[in-house]
């Protein structure tokens, strides 16, 4: 009994963690080679990166600010991938969420308390993102159109839509860089560490959602249905599951979660909408989800890891001159290590070594 429990803990927790560590280490070493090629001491570069991410209370707050959208989009990716759907449209759903937050946040809410307003706006944002993800979800479930392709195309459409909003109907008159006016104060998300720090309540919402999704995955019927659909349509139909409905649910919920990341940016970080509301948080979300092998609790860890990289990257660029794009390279390399190690693990499993 205890032996099998030990084995279970080892198999489900420590081994994945070890693989994750190897992936990250490998990507860092490869990054170090690149830094060397640029003619900079990698240790110095990484030290300045760490200092940039943790150097002050403000730096730590900024690092967590970056973790928030990555965590939320990571969870969004994992939710869809439970049914083996690759939601590459999370970036676009984030933009739609940001647009919805700006629209809703500019309404006058009368005497409603802030808590209720934030809840209402969150709900509206979730629905907007969900509806936007309904397009790839429906097309995949009913017509078998690749959700990867439609999701990606819709990213461009969403970004153009937000650019239209801030240059047109939502533009703050005479703003130099086109932006919307600030959203109503009651619709803004609380800055937990005080007004000078942008760290806001949606980080905690993200952590809560991670726990909730963990429970949904492993303890509910929906989680089970998602998993069966992910294992194969034939099996799912055999089990009496309505495959198209589950696929659509997977995409809609995923889109809703991704949209919340947009509300976090508009309501917590900036207070207004701008055309470049996200520097590709959705793609970071994709990477952290795969890095955590789709485990919602693991995504908390992996998104924090990438937020440290992002948070320190600008300091690294300023002090030692290594371009911030190094982080994007590490992003790609981490994914390669993840898929490469997965194949190695399969090989070991076959030889019954693991």
């Amino acid at each position: 009994m205890s032996n099998s429990l030990q084995e279970k803990v080892l198999k489900q927790f420590f081994i994945p963690l070890a693989w994750l560590g190897i992936s990250i280490l490998g990507a860092f070493l490869a990054g170090a080679v690149l830094i060397l090629l640029v003619g900079v001491n990698p240790i110095e570069a990484y030290a300045s990166l760490i200092k940039g991410a943790f150097g002050s209370k403000y730096a730590i707050s900024e690092t967590l600010v970056k973790a928030t959208p990555i965590l939320l989009t990571g969870l969004a990716v994992a939710f869809a991938y439970r049914a083996k759907l690759v939601n590459l449209g999370v970036e676009g759903q984030l933009y739609i969420g940001a647009a919805a937050a700006a629209w809703l946040g500019l309404f006058s809410f009368g005497q409603l308390p802030g808590f209720i307003v934030v809840l209402l706006v969150s709900l509206g944002v979730f629905l907007a993102g969900g509806l936007y993800a309904l397009i790839p979800g429906f097309l995949k479930a009913k017509l078998n159109v690749s959700e990867i392709m439609t999701g990606l195309m819709l990213n461009f459409v969403a970004m153009l839509y937000v650019s239209y909003l801030v240059e047109g109907p939502l533009r703050l008159p005479r703003s130099v860089i086109p932006r919307s006016p600030n959203i109503e104060e009651v619709a803004q998300l609380a800055r937990i560490l005080g007004g000078n720090f942008r760290f806001h309540s949606y980080f905690l919402v993200g952590v809560g959602l991670a726990i909730l999704i963990f429970i949904i995955f492993y303890r509910t019927t929906l989680g089970f249905q998602l998993k069966i659909v992910g294992e194969g349509e034939r099996l799912a139909r055999f089990a009496g599951i309505n495959v198209p409905v589950i696929q659509i649910v997977a995409m809609v919920v995923s889109g809703g979660i991704a949209a919340l990341a947009g509300y976090g940016e508009v309501g917590g970080v900036h207070r207004y909408l701008l055309a470049e509301i996200s520097p590709g948080f959705g793609y970071y979300g994709l990477v952290v989800a795969f890095l955590a092998r789709m485990n919602p609790l693991g995504i908390i860890v992996s998104s924090l890891f990438f937020s440290v990289l992002l948070g320190g990257a600008e300091t690294m660029q300023r002090t030692v001159g290594v371009p911030v794009f190094l982080i994007n390279i590490i992003q790609g390399l981490v994914l390669f290590f993840v898929v490469g190690l997965e194949s190695y693990r399969r090989k070991l499993e076959k030889r019954k070594l693991l």
């Binding site: 017509l143 461009f156 153009l160 790609g332 993840v338």
Partner: protein
């Protein structure tokens, strides 16, 4: 409507042909790759690597052809990288392709920053000059639209029948199709499945690199972060609804070229539609085309190679 006369239509269609060219390069390569049973979703990343290496080489050595060659070589290297993971490590081809894209996205901008640090003005190169095709360029409509372009555009269109011939009429092409349809059967006939697939992916990479290098060298004259703007993915969509046929792929590429050209042209002309709506046209049209394709075949994978994205393991 007075504003839109024959001259404007010709300008738009001529621009469409130029914009279609990189899409043609990339989709031709992707057809070869997919025919062999491997999916390369990473062509967007390869295009970006082709664009930066092509631009950097052309700028440094002041030689446009050398730039194109660099783009192709880097495409080959990245194609081989993808092939190694998908064919020999048998990784998930979707995720591997996405990894390749993200890697190319970051690496291209990184290299640009390193290579051109300290430049205050965006470095530019002069692109290939236009060559008016003798006699043909005088044909009304057809002439100015198709026969007044730079050499790379002609090369792109010229490659179409060549690739069709390669796939359908040569021994190598038939082997590609065999390993893409029934790798096991091909194997029993003594065809080295993994080798054929490897070369097919590498050739696809070369085409994607050329398509990427075309954008700075044959069209824009400079490098911009993420300058491909999803064209690699549009090329993959074109492959799908052209049913893996190079001849149809050209039509798809021209359709999207026209959409993009209309967007930019109407914006210049100040037509009263939000320019964002026009810029969104090619992406929406891509989705519409995919939907129409799947509707026509009732969701079946019409024309797709039988073993697309399925790794092969010799027993």
């Amino acid at each position: 409507m007075g504003v839109i006369d024959a001259a404007v239509v010709i300008t738009i269609l001529a621009a469409a042909v130029r914009i279609a060219t990189p899409l043609i390069f990339v989709s031709l390569g992707e057809i070869i790759t997919e025919k062999s049973g491997v999916l390369n979703l990473g062509v967007e990343g390869i295009m970006l690597m082709g664009a930066i290496s092509g631009f950097y080489t052309a700028y440094t050595f002041d030689d446009l052809w050398l730039g194109m060659l660099a783009g192709v070589l880097v495409g080959i290297i990245f194609g081989a990288f993808h092939a190694y993971f998908c064919i020999f490590l048998r990784t998930d081809q979707t995720i591997t392709g996405i990894s390749l894209w993200i890697l190319g996205l970051g690496l291209s901008s990184f290299i640009y920053r390193i290579a051109f640090s300290g430049y205050f003005v965006r470095p530019r190169i002069s692109t290939f000059p236009r060559i008016s095709f003798p006699i043909l360029h005088e044909i009304p409509w057809i002439g100015p639209i198709f026969f007044n372009h730079n050499i790379l555009v002609y090369l792109g269109f010229f490659a179409v029948p060549i690739v069709w011939w390669l796939i359908n009429k040569t021994e190598f092409g038939l082997k590609i199709q065999a390993v893409g349809e029934h790798p096991k059967a091909a194997d029993t006939f003594g065809i080295n499945v993994q080798k054929i697939r490897f070369f097919s992916v590498v050739i696809g990479g070369a085409f994607a690199g050329a398509g990427g290098a075309f954008i700075p060298i044959g069209s824009l004259g400079s490098f911009v972060d993420n300058m491909t703007q999803g064209r690699g993915f549009i090329a993959i969509a074109i492959v799908i609804f052209s049913r893996w046929n190079p001849l149809f792929a050209v039509l798809g590429a021209l359709l999207f070229g026209t959409m993009s050209a209309m967007g930019t042209r109407f914006q210049v002309m100040g037509i009263d539609i939000a320019h964002q709506a026009l810029l969104a046209l090619p992406y929406i049209a891509t989705i519409a085309a995919l939907v129409m394709f799947n509707l026509s075949k009732k969701g079946k994978r019409g024309g797709a190679p039988g073993s697309l994205a399925v790794p092969y393991e010799k027993e």
